[in-house]
Symmetry: C2
Subunit: 585 residues, 2 copies
């Protein structure tokens, strides 16, 4: 039989393994973790003298705002809470338990059910419920309402599918055209696959506006990848002609186009409109660039990375305009219209949105629990905003592993952007073709999920890590598109870079490589050497003092140099880096 | 500030929502539930007088067997346990904590990681970890060893896939044959899909020998279903000719075959071998029937259902032999060779295996934790046995919902079996063709998963229920095969049944319908009526007694009749049924 103290220790060890469900039921300003609370409560119980616990002392010291005016003034949201103990809240704000306990238990039970459903649905490694909330994740409060749209409808979908198939194949007359039937059969297979996937596929990290939306895009990724694989295995001519089945206007060589043109900003020769060169460049691609970069910023969630990708793509355009005439633009088109105005403005707006998203409270109530009409409208609108938010802290200079990962992400991103141009070039698609636009829409939808899964994969502390399904597919798609480009037009791809451009790239690569070697190998060795020397000298000093002779040698210089090295910042990508000693992997 | 009792109640409410991980760490004879233990411990703590807890009293009363001989005699397995308190163990057996606590904590942590991984992988609704173990489920002990084969290898697969694709498409020369390339492209797409699915698909309820094995069959189900959909949308001629791409020998009408033949058991005319009719029937299908029914029994896990399906299929063969000559057999072939010998023996062996599987202990240790060579060999062999076991208690007469579900399952099962014959008939495939055998192998692999998912779906207590992915696909496949049969040969299907056969089926259907109506509607109404009458009479009696006149009327008869009705068993399928009053839904 265990003594009470042993029993409580057992309770603690059991309780600390309970899922951190408490975060669901606390508002975003109250940090509540049941495992720590258990420790404190148990510590209070185990104390030999009856004394007020630390919690009581904290509690008495705080001002508890009255509902609701003072609470609004202090920005304390209305909430369902456990008894009001909040730890770690720097402003010391408390949340009043307004609804009665029965409602709170119901909400908690609802939240648990929701947690189980998300987990049972395989919500992937980004679920904050089972692994503990990371410091970069927002707190989420959810009252756990489970409406019609959130329940599974597997049998309903099966029934509707059966009826549709039966109607189309038995009650309609089958056409006699083999080519038409083949096409119809393929389209029907794709639709049935989408039915199955939207009903049964594994959920990813996103759930707004609805998880089925993201399952749909996952299935579209699969279909697109299989289509690319098929194209990859055809001969060049067959592959291009095969696109006629998708759009009969394809399969013909692209007409020659004049891309470069006059680069004068002020064209004195043109009396009507001296600035006509500028207006010529303002086509549909300008808002497309802006919207694209706005969305890319929401995906990448890091200003430095966005700027680097934006600038490097302009370098790539310069480097490859001998291969793709599409890339030859005027200098002001590259740097002012693209980088500064379109991309830059898009990135700026994206960063503002990111700021709003990371400061926002994530408090979700079922529509039926909201009393006001205005509140209901707002809730419906917010269904199209994220359920929760994770700040991406890429920290590329913090370890070799993260550095290589970030470099890899930037490379793959640039590759995917290049593929947009090369793929339509080798498959003879005009830039305005709807398939090109569809592909961009596709990437916009899957890119966010993929980036989140990549971030989770990098951030994952568990020994076994699994790359998310969407990220896996996006990587496979990018690689397959590259293989198609390489197979279908090796001649264009092997047009050699102009010498000065290859010189620049070589220089840039050498610089990056040198920095990598210094940062993650030499600096580590140097600091360890210095540390060993310093310890030796300290021990010499110590023995000298013990022997009676105390003197300080060159230690201060050594320490000074060491500290200067640690504080030195030579990172040219992300300024947020950790301490050198802990960072070197 | 909460009083200690309130604090403990909070601990209880928090702790009761912790996952029931304790079942993983206890051997199969010890029932341990942390939430109940917390209650008991807290009850002990909250008691106003210091008195020995109920646990201590229970503990002192038991004999604790010494390791290891007495333990073997009492069939108490060696185990990692928490402190030895076991509740609900009728034999009062205890498990000695043999390994030191550090190992126990490591095992528990390992089990938790394994639980998280299974849950994060979306192990479906059959997971005993998150929902609490059902009474029909075996207890499982797992030391949580996580070896190479159990870790995800998403990046490795992606890398190997990339290299293979690059090699095949860039380094090999592309053949110029369009038809060959089309076929190769389709095969490559299927292989890439299998790669993706085996790496990333949602896990089902099975995990032995490896979850990837079941993900593979899931992907094969998807591919098969899409293939069927494609065939469904072709004309009859095109569909049959399309199979030439799979096997050039197909696409030709089936030759006429003589199926019935001489039905004499003892053929006096044949001097060489009077029993030649019997030996003629002993072909490769005899062991196939036996093995098939052995495996079907493992899928269905219920003797009554197996026998019903077996017998009803013989009735169907009798009924449909005018449509499929394949079905015309001698009477002794139907009832003695098929039902009694092949099927019957297969079912018998299956039931014996089921018995062994449900009594077996499920104790899994990592290979490296097993000291003896013989133990390691045994562990490797047992990798091909189930991880845990669920006894299927279909209980069809317990509610209308379960009755309809069981009838539906039997119908779909029979339909799938009929499809085997009809599909190869309409697609012009000889019975010995390897595709027919492959289809049977396919169904054997996916059928077990589908039945388990259907059982879990029926058994699911949560308000939102989701049919498993494999079950969904098997249902879709069965329906699609039926649609193909109906579309491709409506003439054969509409050959009307002989009159006496349709009479038998009509009679059978009417009997089943009548029983359904009586059992789930009339009996309920009757019993409630009787109950109301009895209550009225009891209240009359009560008033009469109060008024001084006590007499008993026809109550005893009424009660007697009511009880007789409740105890009446008219269920002709499964003998295990619940009490009538609680059963009527």
């Amino acid at each position: 039989m265990l003594r009470p103290t042993q029993q409580l220790k057992l309770i603690l060890s059991l309780g600390s393994q309970a899922p951190v469900f408490g975060t669901l039921s606390t508002p975003s300003h109250c940090h509540l973790e049941p495992s720590r609370r258990l420790e404190e409560l148990a510590a209070g119980l185990l104390a030999t003298e009856p004394r007020p616990s630390r919690l009581a002392a904290q509690d008495q010291g705080r001002q508890r705002p009255a509902c609701p005016a003072a609470r609004r003034a202090l920005r304390v949201p209305q909430c369902f809470t456990a008894p009001p103990h909040s730890r770690g809240d720097p402003a010391g704000r408390l949340c009043d338990p307004c609804p009665p306990p029965a409602t709170w238990r119901a909400a908690q039970a609802g939240a648990m059910r929701k947690a189980e459903r998300r987990v049972a649905g395989g919500s992937g490694s980004g679920s904050p419920l089972l692994e503990g909330r990371r410091s970069t994740e927002s707190e989420v409060y959810d009252d756990g309402t489970n409406t019609f749209f959130w329940r599974a409808h597997t049998l309903t979908v099966l029934f509707i599918l059966t009826c549709s198939l039966g109607y189309v194949t038995l009650l309609e007359e089958t056409p006699q055209d083999t080519a038409y039937n083949t096409k119809r059969g393929i389209v029907a297979s794709i639709l049935v696959f989408l039915c199955f996937g939207v009903t049964q596929a594994k959920d990813g990290p996103f759930s707004r506006p609805h998880p089925a939306y993201w399952r749909f895009w996952l299935c579209v990724s699969v279909v697109y990848e299989l289509f690319l694989i098929f194209i990859l295995f055809q001969t060049v001519q067959d592959g291009r002609q095969f696109l006629k089945y998708v759009d009969p206007r394809l399969g013909v060589p692209l007409p020659e186009r004049d891309y470069g043109g006059n680069c004068l900003i002020y064209d004195a020769d043109n009396k009507t409109d001296p600035f006509h060169n500028i207006w010529d460049k303002l086509d549909g691609f300008v808002p497309a660039h802006f919207i694209g970069w706005y969305l890319k910023t929401l995906m990448i969630r890091d200003w430095w990375m966005c700027m680097i990708i934006s600038v490097m793509f302009e370098f790539l355009e310069y480097s490859l305009e001998h291969q793709l005439p599409n890339f030859s633009e005027c200098w002001w088109d590259h740097w002012i219209m693209d980088v500064l105005i379109c991309n830059g403005l898009g990135i700026y707006c994206g960063m503002k949105t990111l700021e709003w998203l990371s400061l926002k409270t994530y408090k979700w109530q079922g529509l039926w629990n909201i009393p006001t009409y205005k509140g209901k409208m707002k809730r419906i609108a917010f269904q199209f905003t994220p359920y929760s938010w994770v700040r991406f802290e890429w920290k590329p200079a913090s370890s070799l592993h993260r550095w290589l990962a970030v470099c890899g992400i930037i490379l793959v991103f640039l590759l995917a952007e290049l593929n947009t141009f090369y793929l339509k070039f080798v498959l003879w698609m005009p830039p305005e073709h709807y398939l090109v636009l569809l592909r961009l829409v596709f990437f916009v939808n899957v890119g966010g999920v993929a980036m989140r899964e990549i971030y989770d994969f990098m951030d994952e502390l568990k020994p076994h890590r699994k790359l998310g399904q969407q990220a896996w597919l996006v990587a496979a798609i990018t690689v397959t598109e590259l293989l198609i480009v390489v197979k279908y037009d090796p001649h264009t791809l092997t047009l050699s870079l102009p010498f000065y451009i290859s010189q620049c790239w070589t220089l840039g690569s050498i610089l990056v490589l040198t920095w990598t070697v210094w940062r993650f190998f030499l600096r580590d060795i140097t600091m360890r050497y210095k540390e060993t020397r310093r310890q030796k000298q300290q021990s010499h000093q110590g023995r000298a003092i013990n022997n009676g002779d105390g003197h300080s040698g060159p230690d201060d210089d050594l320490l000074g140099t060491g500290t200067a090295e640690e504080e030195g910042t030579t990172n040219d990508s992300v300024p947020a880096e950790q301490e050198g000693a802990s960072a070197a992997s």
